[in-house]
């Protein structure tokens, strides 16, 4: 039994199932991070004193990471665009680059974390660090999740390209939407935590 509209769009909605599904998922993610940002605002406004982010955190390193993530969003779009043009080889290169850039982001984050932990700056030290570790930690989990999905579409998932290229392209697009969202969250996190 086949579920309708997994690859072809439904005429009256103009969408595939997966497209609606991923946008609904992103809506719930907005609420997840929205609640965390709101909590951050409440705790910060209620605090007697609050350090500026750049006095405690490494701004150049985070700027580098921001550029890494933005670049990975570009390569993600290129990966999808290559599939739209039917160039599977180019797709593999761009998708591989996206995954690698995600990896670079995580490695930089690892050095940042271990630097702070070596200085004795733990989540329990103060609420600034609690917010920092919780928000960036949850974001890192999202980066990791996105990388796992992308790695699947780079490796074993490519079987689908041979049997059903349209569906495969759609799935890569949906994965890309998630990846851009994760990127966007970082673009909010970077000024909020590091600059303000």
């Amino acid at each position: 039994m086949d579920i309708p509209y997994t690859e072809e769009v439904r005429r009256d909605t103009g969408l595939t199932n997966g497209k609606i599904g991923i946008w609904l998922f992103l809506a719930s993610e907005v609420m997840l991070f929205g609640a965390l940002f709101a909590s951050y605002i409440l705790i910060r406004t209620g605090a007697e004193s609050w350090p500026r982010g750049d006095t405690l955190l490494d701004v150049p390193l985070a700027t580098f990471n921001t550029l890494v993530l933005i670049t990975s969003s570009v390569t993600m779009v290129m990966a999808w665009a290559s599939l739209m043009r039917g160039r599977f080889g180019t797709y593999r290169i761009y998708m591989g680059a996206t995954i690698l850039l995600g990896g670079v982001f995580l490695v930089v984050k690892y050095f940042e974390y271990s630097h702070h932990l070596n200085l004795g700056e733990f989540p329990s030290t103060n609420n600034f660090l609690a917010v920092y570790y919780t928000l960036t930690g949850l974001h890192m989990l999202h980066v990791f999740g996105g990388m796992v999905v992308n790695a699947y579409f780079w490796g074993p998932g490519t079987k689908l390209w041979k049997t059903n290229p349209v569906w495969f392209t759609n799935r890569v697009e949906h994965s890309g939407l998630f990846w851009h969202f994760v990127d966007l969250v970082w673009i909010f996190l970077f000024p909020t935590l590091y600059l303000l």
């Binding site: 039994m1 909605t13 199932n17 609606i20 609904l24 719930s28 609420m31 909590s39 609690a130």
Partner: protein, 586 residues
């Protein structure tokens, strides 16, 4: 387009043996991706947890009726919880917290949304399955894992979570290990609901049959659709809150811990600077929409059963749908009426009491429409209908007794008393749970091809209806006398409570008798699966599309993909050959 008339399949299941390959036992019944199997898995899990959560309460009712008296034969709970059969306060607190958690998140929601939503919604919209069958399976197993974690937490040192189902901070921050398990369990339950909600919304929008426009949806489909949006958008903030409380408990952060908090005479050694009220806001931002998650599917079931058994169209269908959507929006901006006791400013209190009064209007529109739907119908009083009719006044009592709580001034003396317990239990127990029973009796023939026994059903109905009132009505009196709802002895230590304490005994006996009257249901359920009266595909002569599928529906549901030709409730149409015109008949 070929206009092929939809023929209701003949009874012998020969016509739909279109399985390409037979699935093995595990893929067919355990790790199934078929929405009907998953729906039944959800329903049975929900029913078992309802029974378990109710058992916890029956145990607590002993302590409330006969404080600190040994319960004969219950010494086996052990020294840490009931030494010699006498309940310790800590154990009572665990039971209370877990009763709430289990009833709401593992009982009613899995049954109302997971069970009925999964089983009925795709059939009612003429779909072969849900939009994402594998995701559907994953959401059930997330719920299952969450349930297992919650159950396992009873056996960790210090017992299960004991800070109330609301897990208010800072109390929950400093509670025993069970609270950590509660948080991890909740993260699984939330994930399950989220995935389910995505699936329901996508299915409703995309997989509905040809010709089934939104205004032709049965009311039940509308309620599930709106409920899914509430789950999708209200649950993530609680997930954030659960992550932060987990950080507080495991990593030693201070999101919810204020500076200088004194516990047992010692200043707590934490960074501090957190905000305990933040938890309450995030919790109720979920938990108020959650109230509507509990009640909306129930209203959907009631609408289906009432219109079918009055043989009349639903009165005010469009205004009911508009009310439903409005209710969904409003439910996001009323949450702080649970928090009038926190000493919020008058401006905030005014805002939230105004929105709360406004949200009562659509609920009343829906309830009134359902009552007017009875008018002039030739009512068939079968078991589902009895439950459905009883729902109306019971939900009415629940709703109307909520009005004094919506205003912050009368709320302050009432909030921490049994009055609140009585109020919301009238909404969810004699309200929602009666509706869920109506749904089980109503759709049982679709799931099994057999009807449940009517006599046993009526015994179950009258017993449940009478004793639910015996349990909850006295609580209004106890509450109005000012007895706190958080006392493990039911108020025995307070002199002012003495004149009303005997009502505790009445409530308790009501609860135990209510338990006994569930036995006919349990027996009926299993007996009818094998021995119940066989039925055809449409035993209730209903109009909606689930009855066009064979009973039980095969994998893929319909013999011929149905098309909708008219609205959902064309009963007693003047000039029609019979008193119902199914939606799918050309």
């Amino acid at each position: 387009m070929s206009e092929q008339p939809v023929v209701v399949a003949p009874k012998p299941p020969v016509a739909h043996e279109a399985h390409h390959e037979e699935l093995g036992f595990w893929r067919k019944y355990v790790f199934s991706t078929d929405h009907k199997v998953i729906g039944i898995q959800y329903a049975i899990t929900g029913l078992l947890f309802l029974l378990f959560g109710f058992s916890l309460m029956m145990l607590m009712r002993w302590q409330l009726a006969y404080p600190e008296t040994a319960l004969p034969l219950f010494g086996f709970f052990g020294e840490a919880s009931m030494p010699g059969g006498t309940m310790l306060p800590e154990f009572y607190n665990s039971l209370g917290a877990m009763h709430g958690t289990i009833m709401v998140f593992l009982g009613v929601v899995p049954l109302a949304v997971g069970g009925f939503g999964n089983f009925v919604l795709p059939l009612q919209i003429g779909a072969p399955d849900m939009a994402f069958p594998k995701l559907n399976m994953i959401s059930y197993w997330c719920l299952f894992l969450g349930g297992v974690i919650m159950l396992a937490s009873f056996f960790v040192p210090g017992g299960a979570a004991n800070s109330g189902w609301t897990s208010y901070t800072p109390l929950a921050n400093i509670a025993t290990t069970g609270q950590t398990w509660w948080l991890i369990g909740m993260i699984f339950l939330i994930t399950s609901s989220l995935l389910g909600a995505i699936n329901f919304i996508t299915t409703t929008i995309q997989i509905r049959a040809k010709g089934l426009t939104f205004w032709r949806f049965p009311f039940f489909v509308w309620t599930q659709f709106v409920t899914a949006f509430l789950l999708l958008l209200a649950f993530p903030p609680l997930e954030s809150a659960a992550v932060m409380q987990l950080m507080d408990r495991v990593a030693g952060t201070s999101f919810f811990l204020p500076s200088g908090l004194v516990v047992s005479g010692q200043v707590l050694d934490v960074a501090g600077g957190g905000n305990p009220l933040l938890w309450q806001h995030l919790f109720w931002f979920l938990a108020h929409p959650e109230v509507y998650v509990l009640i909306l599917p129930a209203m959907g079931i009631i609408a289906e059963v009432i219109t079918n058994n009055t043989r009349k169209p639903l009165w005010g269908y469009r205004s009911m749908v508009y009310s439903l959507i409005f209710l969904g929006f409003m439910s996001f901006i009323v949450w702080a009426h649970h928090m009038f006791m926190t000493g919020m400013g008058t401006a905030m209190a005014t805002f939230f009491q105004t929105t709360t009064m406004i949200i009562s209007i659509p609920s009343i529109v829906i309830l009134t429409s359902l009552i007017i739907s009875l008018w002039g119908g030739s009512i068939r009083f079968n078991t589902p209908m009895l439950f459905a009719v009883a729902f109306l006044p019971m939900f009415g009592i629940g709703g109307l007794t909520g009005l004094p709580l919506a205003f912050n001034v009368p709320d302050i003396p009432l909030h921490d008393t049994y009055y609140v317990i009585a109020h919301f239990h009238y909404v969810v127990a004699p309200g929602t749970i009666l509706a869920l029973f109506a749904g089980i009796y109503y759709w049982f023939p679709k799931a099994t091809g057999r009807k449940m026994n009517e006599t046993l059903g009526k015994i179950h109905f009258w017993g449940s209806f009478v004793f639910m009132n015996v349990v909850f009505m006295p609580m209004f009196m106890v509450g109005l006398a000012g007895v706190s709802r958080r006392l493990f002895d039911g108020g025995a230590t307070y002199t002012f409570a003495e004149p009303v304490l005997h009502w505790n005994v009445v409530s308790s006996w009501g609860a135990w008798l209510l338990g006994i009257f569930q036995l006919p249901f349990i027996f009926n359920f299993f007996w009818s699966i094998r021995k119940g009266e066989k039925t055809d595909d449409n035993p209730w002569q209903a109009t909606t599309m689930e009855w066009a599928a064979p009973s039980p529906p095969p994998h893929g549901n319909f013999v011929v993909a149905p098309e909708a030709h008219r609205g959902p409730y064309e009963y007693s149409v003047p000039g029609a050959a019979k008193d119902f015109v199914p939606q799918h008949e050309a």
